[in-house]
């Protein structure tokens, strides 16, 4: 019986021209969104390759100058001596700390156009090292990207609602409902069958189209197989929520036009209005601590530590070696040692300011984060970002490794500086190897987000099924 109704519904939907138009629009959007995402991922890979190439070439040239200096074939200024560990560590021999895009990063551009994914490591203060960012037109950041995540979060629910707003009301208005229900078919069975078919139709379409689009864009699905399954599960859960909503509204027995309005209003509220209101709260009621104040506090702290002015003097001499007084080499090395000591003092004073800032930031973010459970669109954004590795979680993981690498980098060069040693090879300089997050941590975050979508979805379904008992057939 159920299967027979499914077959009938399939027949009804596929003979409707509007349904084909919707599917066509959906297909185009999915294709375009995926291609866009893939293009961005390729850009990131290219940038990383460029960085790696640049590093290789620079270090090779640097190694050559070391050799030349050692064999005496070139004159070396003491302030730019390639063998000097201070010069190497801070200026010439920087290595990149890189977070490559996760497999299937094409699925959601997320925050990856805003948060930096590579840094050149030097012995400078950590804040100086990590201040970089990928270049992007700010108006482009504002407009947002047309990626697959956008299609899923915004368009997918609308199409679901467009195909199910008249789930039962169509049969009632066209007059066939009475005839159907005079057969031994429960209204519940009928409704369930209609929803099931539509859900399956959407999932099959998305699955097929996304797979084709990803393959066409050259994404390696084998590498990200589990992620793709997770992504598909997320899409299914999100669909379940919206179908649940449509069924709940359908079970109230109102006319098609009213259902359409109601569902459109709810879509607007959940996908457009609520998220912007969260942002409103985040700027007015509970804003992020001020970076401007942080900048001032840091400056004051470092001013105190820099009391000597010897660092600045040293900078002056290093820029303009021809202006230094005699005994340059000796002076240079002493300055380097002094500089290291002063830097350490600056960092010591700046640390509490930065830590305080970090704590306030985390607190503010967690408050705003909790609000996301009010909107399935925001939860879905988090889930999709985590699955494609473009979310804040993976980035935090990266930044922690960058911090550790900074420590390691310093740990390598500072002793050399103090010992006034000379570098003969650059091969021992620590490299950065990115350790991706353990996958179960990602899954845990995704599961939490999806749970927040699934629960209300199921509740809506249950409500709908119960409300069907009071459905006015006549």
């Amino acid at each position: 019986m159920f299967r027979r109704i499914l077959a009938h519904e399939w027949r009804m939907l596929t003979s409707d021209a509007t349904v084909w138009t919707l599917i066509a629009i959906f297909a185009l959007s999915i294709g375009y969104g995926t291609l866009n995402g893939a293009r961005w991922t390729r850009f990131q890979h290219d940038a990383i390759s460029q960085a790696e190439r640049e590093e290789r070439d620079r270090l090779a040239a640097h190694q050559a100058t070391i050799v030349a200096a050692n064999t005496g074939t070139s004159k070396v200024s003491p302030f730019l001596d390639p063998r000097n560990p201070e010069v190497a560590g801070r200026r010439l021999a920087g290595r990149y700390a890189v977070m490559p895009p996760a497999p299937l990063a094409a699925l959601s551009i997320g925050q990856s156009d805003l948060l930096p994914y590579y840094f050149k490591m030097t012995t400078d203060a950590k804040e100086t090292v990590t201040a970089g960012a990928e270049l992007e037109n700010p108006q482009r950041l504002l407009a947002g990207r047309f990626d697959l995540a956008f299609v899923i979060i915004y368009l997918y629910p609308l199409l679901i609602l467009a195909i199910s707003y008249n789930l039962l009301s169509a049969e009632k208005e066209q007059g066939t409902l009475a005839l159907v229900l005079s057969q031994p078919v429960a209204l519940r069975t009928l409704a369930l069958a209609k929803v099931t078919l539509r859900l399956l139709l959407f999932l099959a379409t998305i699955g097929a189209l996304a797979t084709i689009a990803l393959l066409a864009a050259g994404v390696d699905l084998g590498n990200g197989g589990v992620r793709f399954a997770l992504w598909f599960a997320a899409v299914a859960v999100y669909g379940l929520f919206w179908f649940g909503l449509a069924s709940a509204v359908a079970s109230l027995g109102r006319p098609s036009a009213t259902n359409a309005m109601t569902l459109a209003a709810i879509w607007l509220a959940l996908v457009v209005l609520l998220p912007s209101m969260f942002n409103l709260l985040a700027t007015t009621v509970y804003p992020v601590p001020s970076r401007v104040e942080m900048v001032q506090a840091v400056r004051e702290a470092s001013d105190e530590a820099n009391g000597q002015g010897s660092v600045l003097l040293s900078k002056y001499y290093e820029d303009h070696p021809e202006l230094a007084a005699g005994g340059a080499e000796q002076a240079m090395n002493d300055f380097n040692v002094i500089r290291v000591a002063v830097n350490a003092e600056v960092e010591r004073r700046v640390r509490p300011v930065m830590d305080q800032y970090g704590r306030q930031l985390v607190a503010q973010q967690s408050v705003i984060d909790r609000l996301r459970f009010l909107s399935p669109a925001v939860l879905m954004q988090d889930a999709l970002n985590d699955i494609s590795g473009t979310g804040a979680g993976r980035h935090r993981h990266f930044m922690a490794q960058v911090s550790a690498y900074h420590e390691t980098w310093r740990g390598y060069f500072v002793p050399l500086i103090f010992r006034k040693a000379q570098l003969s090879t650059l091969a021992d300089i620590p490299r950065f190897r990115f350790q991706d997050e353990p996958f179960d941590r990602t899954i845990a975050r995704v599961a939490t987000a999806l749970g927040g979508v699934l629960l209300p979805g199921v509740a809506l379904f249950v409500f709908g099924l119960r409300a069907l008992r009071r459905y006015k057939v006549a």
């Binding site: 027979r4 009804m12 003979s15 007059g175 066939t176 009475a178 005079s182 057969q183 031994p184 006549a474």
Partner: protein
Amino acid sequence: MLEASALTKQYNGVAALDNLTLRVEPGEVFCLLGANGAGKTTAINLFLNFIEPTSGTARINGLDVTAHALETKKFVAYIPETVMLYKNLTGLENLEYFSALAGRSDYTRLELLGFFKQVGLQHEAADRRVGTYSKGMRQKVGIAIALAKGAKALLLDEPTSGLDPKASNEFSELLRQMSADGVAVLMATHDLFRAKESGTRVGIMRHGQLVRTLGTSEVGHADLERIYLEQMHD
């Protein structure tokens, strides 16, 4: 076959159906007569479990319709005033679908065409979209569905409204056949002429109450009209 016992439906204290008690045995054609709002459609909706009774019971084949909602549907067929079918499907496809819903998914195409023939529909019409059918043709499909279902009871709501005399006559003929086959028929109608022609008994409803019942063989056409108008007199 069809039994109502003190069947009552109230909306906000106003009784749309007040204490209806009647029995329709197999082979009987019971016609409910009355003005709009007299309770005829309410009675039918109650039998179909489309609405819940305030008190009393409706039974089909001895089973309470509220307690055995799905099971009772197996025995009864319903033909509304305007039979609406799936426009983009052919007549035969509609018949096949509704039969499947009724639990009979084993009919061959030939068998389905047989039902079509039985109700007087042309062979060529079977494969035409229902959107092209006339009202009379759609009603015939409704009857075909009832036949294919093997229903033991038939509920009809204003079946002859909007039909021309020929179609009306054909309908009467079908009704006679079904009645002869032992189907219990409850028909709500305005059509006094058709009630006398096709019905075995007639019940006059007024303000939700069944005020007079009589056998159609007892009266002539003119008498029936006179009795009807008497009852309607306020």
